[in-house]
Symmetry: C2
Subunit: 312 residues, 2 copies
């Protein structure tokens, strides 16, 4: 493992975390949270999604949030866009980058976007054309690529075809999402290895859920395959949609702490992230899920007690 190599941690709490909360967060409060995240040193933040306000009421203030936050040089603001209307709003809001959402399987795609995978991709064409006109950076995504909760494993040929069509559209940055935590290190290496070999022009980021306790192992496997861009959410906000109490997004503080312990730099101020995570946890205890918020960092040493119970 190449130590001292740096990774980018993309903070997705404002989009993926907040959209999972039942209560609407007031715009001003959202702006404060995002400003605090910018202050942590994240180089990329998924700020919002320009969906129809009725689809996700939590994110109906997307444009206003983007207008009010304190932008900072070197911090890229990303937003999801599901359609041309959303893209126009994103262009108007001057985000740095838009991301297209796609599911690897038809059943997941239908349930999420009301159309089959390749039909959804056809719908991307006018968006990519318009984004190019507006000089807006576009990245793609492949949800449930490491396993679909309805169909299980996704055939490699299908993944190849999705990658090929993204390339045909001129999209070279893909977020590979383990949407319901079905990946494992062998699968991560097999799939990323396969599509990296086949399409060396593509670059990948990983969006990992800790649903089955393997997110950090999967991050390490991705790192070993050359991935240097990872999504995570402060305090682990953003759940798993299939099991009410199951873990969702890997917590930013867990991912950053783990990488830094391994000697992999993130450029993010872990102590600020932990402080912010604690504030989010106090405010939204039922949604937060984080190891480091509970246990502290490895470097937080304890005073040796005089007497103490036997340990395992």
């Amino acid at each position: 493992m190449n130590l001292k190599d740096e990774v980018i941690i993309s903070e997705v709490c404002p989009r993926d975390g907040f959209q999972s909360l039942a209560d609407i967060i007031p715009t001003e409060e959202k702006v404060e949270w995002i400003n605090a995240m910018i202050d942590c040193g994240f180089k990329q933040i998924e700020v919002t999604s320009f969906v129809h306000p009725k689809a996700i009421p939590q994110l109906r203030d997307a444009g206003e949030v983007l207008q009010k936050i304190n932008r900072k040089q070197g911090v890229k603001l990303r937003a999801l866009v599901p359609n041309l209307r959303g893209l126009e709003r994103a262009i108007e809001a001057k985000v740095d980058k838009v991301k297209l959402m796609l599911s690897a399987t038809d059943s997941h795609s239908i349930s999420n976007a009301n159309s089959k995978t390749f039909d959804a991709m056809k719908g991307f064409e006018p968006l990519v054309k318009r984004a190019t006109e507006a000089s807006m950076a576009v990245s793609g995504s492949i949800s449930v690529i490491f396993g679909c909760p309805y169909e299980g494993d996704v055939p490699l040929e299908r993944i190849e075809e999705i990658c090929k069509r993204y390339i045909d559209m001129g999209i070279y940055q893909l977020s590979l999402a383990d949407t319901t935590g079905m990946a494992n290190p062998v699968k991560i290496k097999r799939i990323i290895g396969h599509i990296s070999n086949k399409f060396p022009e593509l670059s990948f980021s990983l969006h990992l859920h800790n649903t089955r306790g393997m997110a950090f192992a999967n991050a390490v496997a991705g790192y070993e395959m050359g991935v240097r861009d990872f999504d995570s959410a402060i305090a682990g906000l953003g759940g798993c949609p299939y099991a009410p109490n199951a873990t969702g997004n890997i917590a930013s503080e867990d991912l950053i702490h783990g990488f830094e312990e391994m000697g992999i730099l993130t450029g993010v101020d872990l102590d600020k992230v932990i402080k912010l995570g604690k504030e989010l946890e106090i405010k939204y205890p039922q949604y937060s899920d984080s190891f480091i918020l509970k246990a502290g960092k490895c470097s937080d040493l304890h005073l040796a007690p005089k007497t103490q119970e036997k340990l395992g």
Copy 2:
């Protein structure tokens, strides 16, 4: 990674899990739990610890438990022994193997065993002599080897010296314990790589805690270094002594599920483990901590819904 390679999962719930419960479990109930674990197909079970009843009242019925459980060929029953008196009880109870507990650092050793590391090792000598006389298999352990909550990193030279003294006593099987979850994959590889090279006559097992979300990644790192023996506890019973709500032992169902998903066989019946884990979780909800009990297996597919909220 060599697929289809098999690992041994050593179930430690009856010792490490039960000893962390506040309420005393009746002997008959303990026997039932352990019989159910034997029926799951674990090849090794850490059944109890022959400590003084006052030190850990939960395990005061160690001898009786061992007398009453249904032993099965191929299932090794292991017990901890802290001293000669405990060893005599273990010999009388006809366990298959005894394990010596040792801390890598003086501060942890003093707080756990009331003596410094190398003083504690001196105390092992009469135990090893007596065990050899009784043809009892003995293994050693090194707690906090991947980080001590009082001292931080343990110097490699100190770890070497501990290994050397174990070898001098004729002990070649060592359990490396990440007692408070301070390991990471790089540290696992560095330390195991170092002592494997230096002492090829030693074999290692890993006892991992998921305190900071890295247990499975650490298991994979250990596997890649040749380790084929891993401790875990059904339902994740057995906590972290420093942070009240923090995670302790990696859950057996999480470890088995993860390995099997990677194509690494365990020989354990995962469905039986999950069923038993659910029963333990119902009985001891405040102590259980398991991903698979919450989220189910990757292979538990869902029915695709007609309409559904947008996912991350």
